[in-house]
């Protein structure tokens, strides 16, 4: 019965629990408020229905009452607002050390790549009990990545990254929907999120047949495109040294200070003139239209991997020194 006619969505992430708790609170509150109003209306309608010889009583109003029924709801609203904001704040802040998956949406499919290099289409395998961060972008129109069982949704925009994250708490297969109307086959742009036990996930991951991690693919790109000519790993390059860049504040030529997040790296590759680092000349060529979204993701993953931070979240900073020097001379 409940498989064919469910009344409550599956709860398969940590977020789902907190969203449901607020939702249940609001359902109870709404039921209470509407019950109160509808009871009053019914009681008044019966009690004060027209009767011969009984006239209505003219009442002008009551400022005290007006203030009461403005302030009490306002107070309740503040509580709801704060509660909802706390959940949202967590939803929008991916924890450190999360497994990263890059998502490219296009009419009408989901292309996903794990940082370990595995690619998937319309399917996402993730391990139970680990934080998973999604870095999403679109190749064409706006889409929206929606997994009802996790209670998460994030629009996927062309020309920039958005991020989302979840922590699966229950193994199983769940709906992945596109939630932003995107054209003819919008309702066909669906897929599955498969949450596996960690051991199963490891075996799935090793059976993927991926050719290298995203960071190592990105490293190859970095050399093929000649990026390494200027972005050297010392202070002599014509472009800034990228080691340790990710997540740090960057002083720009025009005086602004920005944080080097995924979107900053992305923008600096596609339209380098937009944000020039202080002390450098705007000589880098524009890569807009020259690299695909997947290649761009690999480059971003590589730049992120250049962080020597001991957190170990990104994939393998050890590969850096080996390929850097020889490539520099080759391109010259």
């Amino acid at each position: 019965m409940f498989d064919t006619f469910p009344l409550w969505p599956t709860r398969a992430s940590t977020t789902a629990g907190s969203v449901d708790a607020l939702f249940i609170f609001l359902v109870a509150l709404s039921a209470l408020m509407s019950l109160a109003i509808f009871t009053m209306i019914t009681v008044f309608a019966v009690r004060y229905r027209r009767r011969r010889g009984v006239a209505s009583e003219q009442i002008e109003g009551s400022t005290a009452l007006e203030v009461t029924w403005s302030v009490i709801p306002l107070f309740i609203f503040v509580v709801i607002f704060v509660w909802g904001a706390v959940i949202y704040f967590k939803e929008r802040t991916p924890p450190r050390g999360a497994t990263e998956v890059y998502v490219v949406a296009k009419q009408w499919m989901w292309k996903l790549q794990h940082e370990e290099g595995q690619r998937e289409i319309n399917q996402l395998h993730v391990p139970l009990g680990r934080d998973v961060k999604l870095i999403l972008t679109s190749q064409d129109v706006i889409h929206s990545f929606y997994v009802p069982a996790f209670r998460i949704k994030q629009d996927v925009l062309p020309g920039r990254y958005t991020t989302a994250w979840f922590h699966p708490t229950r193994a199983g297969t769940y709906h992945l929907f596109c939630a932003e109307y995107c054209g003819s086959q919008h309702s066909g742009m669906i897929g599955q999120v498969v949450v596996l036990e960690p051991a199963q996930y490891e075996s799935w991951l090793s059976g993927g047949g991926a050719s290298g991690t995203m960071a190592s693919n990105g490293q190859n790109m970095f050399q093929q495109l000649g990026c390494s000519t200027c972005h050297r790993f010392d202070t002599q390059g014509r472009g800034p040294n990228l080691v340790g860049l990710f997540g740090k504040p960057v002083q720009l030529e025009d005086g602004r200070v920005v944080t080097a997040d995924e979107n900053y790296i992305r923008e600096s590759i596609l339209t380098p003139g937009a944000k020039v680092v202080s002390g450098f000349k705007p000589i880098m060529p524009v890569f807009q239209g020259l690299v695909s979204e997947e290649q761009l993701n690999a480059l971003v993953a590589y730049v992120k991997s250049l962080n020597p931070s001991p957190s170990g979240a990104a994939g393998g900073p050890t590969v850096v020194p080996s390929g850097a020097k020889p490539q520099e001379t080759k391109v010259q």
Binding site: M33, I37, I59, F77, V78, Y88, I142, R160, C182, S184
Partner: protein, 544 residues
Amino acid sequence: MATAAITAERENYLNQEYGIKSWLLTVDHKRIALLYLLSITFFFFIGGFFALLIRLELLTPAGDLVQADTYNKLFTMHGQVMVFFFLIPSIPAVLGNFLVPLMIGAKDLAFPRINLLSWYLYIIAGVLMLHCMLTGGVDTGWTFYTPFSTAFSNTKVIEAGLAIFISGFSSILTGLNFVVTIHRMRAPGMTWDRLPLFIWAHYATSIIQLLGTPVIAVTLVLVVLERALHLGIFDPTRGGDPLLFQHLFWFYSHPAVYIMILPSMGVVTEIIPCFCRKRIFGYKFVALSSISIAVFGFLVWAHHMFVAGISLYAALIFSALSYLVAVPSAIKVFNWTATMYKGSITFSTPMLYAFGFVGLFTMGGLTGLFLAALGIDVHVTDTYFVVAHFHYIMVGGALMGYLGGMHFWWPKISGRMYPESLGRLAALIVFLGFNLTFFPQFILGYLGMPRRYWQYPPEFQVLNVLSTAGATVLAVGYLLPMVYFLWSMRYGKVAPDNPWGASGLEWMTTSPPPTFNFDKPPVVTWEAYDYEHIPAPQEARSGG
């Protein structure tokens, strides 16, 4: 044809002149109201027909009744027709047009010719929209989100955009006319604190129309230019920003919801005191709440964009502001309820619609609290939860108010009474049909069914079948009034001047009113809703 009954009638705005020209070139606000009534009813049934096709398609999980592209056009044009060609003009352009001058004791609107112009603009826009629909239609969703609308859709986006652009001018001119009329044309003694609250509601609405509509007009022009000339305003590959469109669009389209619901609140605020034989509870607070809804309504637009990629802090601010706008709405509901206290209540058709309005608007408003809560919005935005919520406000609220108003003022407009028991039956059918159609959609939405889906996973079917069943009931409820209104124009009992024993200047002139509304310009020496001085009607008591 011209029987004794008609010739015996006093001269009024309907029988003063005959012939098609006397209608198409009229500058009488009451005749223009009727022109609007005909045209918006036409578009209502077109939009309703699309809705019925949508519901039939969703009867089964597979996409089997129409093609995917056809389905996308159906929900797009359902939205565009219902929002821009029915709901926005509905109460203001029909009831407002008819009643604003009557209620304030004026002989017409301030600019009668502009009033006619605004109808012609509406018709030009409507014809363009019809042409667009008949020659292929448009599939962007009523929201026109970029870059889909500007670079990817291969349907008639430009034509639909222009149609809505033109209809916007019609809306602006109506708003302008009302603002000037309310300021300048009030009868002697009709001070601001004696105005019927219907007028206050229309004043607030007009302000939104004047300030908001130009923004959607500019936005649509940008979409058209971007599509035709590839300017790159919304195109990220040219340095544009697709989110800019959403900000501009919702800057108008959120306040537009208040263009639809405020006049309806105005109607209900007239009906409830009349059928309680009581003055409204908290006149000043109800009037002020209309104005504050109009003002706060402009500050909440980004609550449509919590998952769209706006910053965390922007989302927090817009969520908080959204709760502020809920307060004046709550104030209204409490005041309507309090008005019933110690009243002398009768349950005529308009009152049943008013009850329906309060019930459905309350539910729509409460579910708005869910959507304004950031954490929950992430899950339910762009699902059927949103679809259910805004139909509770825009159909359950705005349309119930419109129908209630049509029944309340029909005797004044047509000079005839409609059959009361059929009226009550239709109100009941609409209420039940509406809830059956849209309540299951709240559950569907929380389960995660996205909106604008042509096909869906099979576990959502039971709720969709319920919803479709409700839609057919609702259709009957909407057809009934149209039939008996038409019937009543010929066979209905002749209406007395004030069949409900209502307060308000419109009831002090004849039914239907003469062309210049009042034989003698009225002088007002009393407050609005002074029901202690107005005898209850004999007519309504027998019930019909």
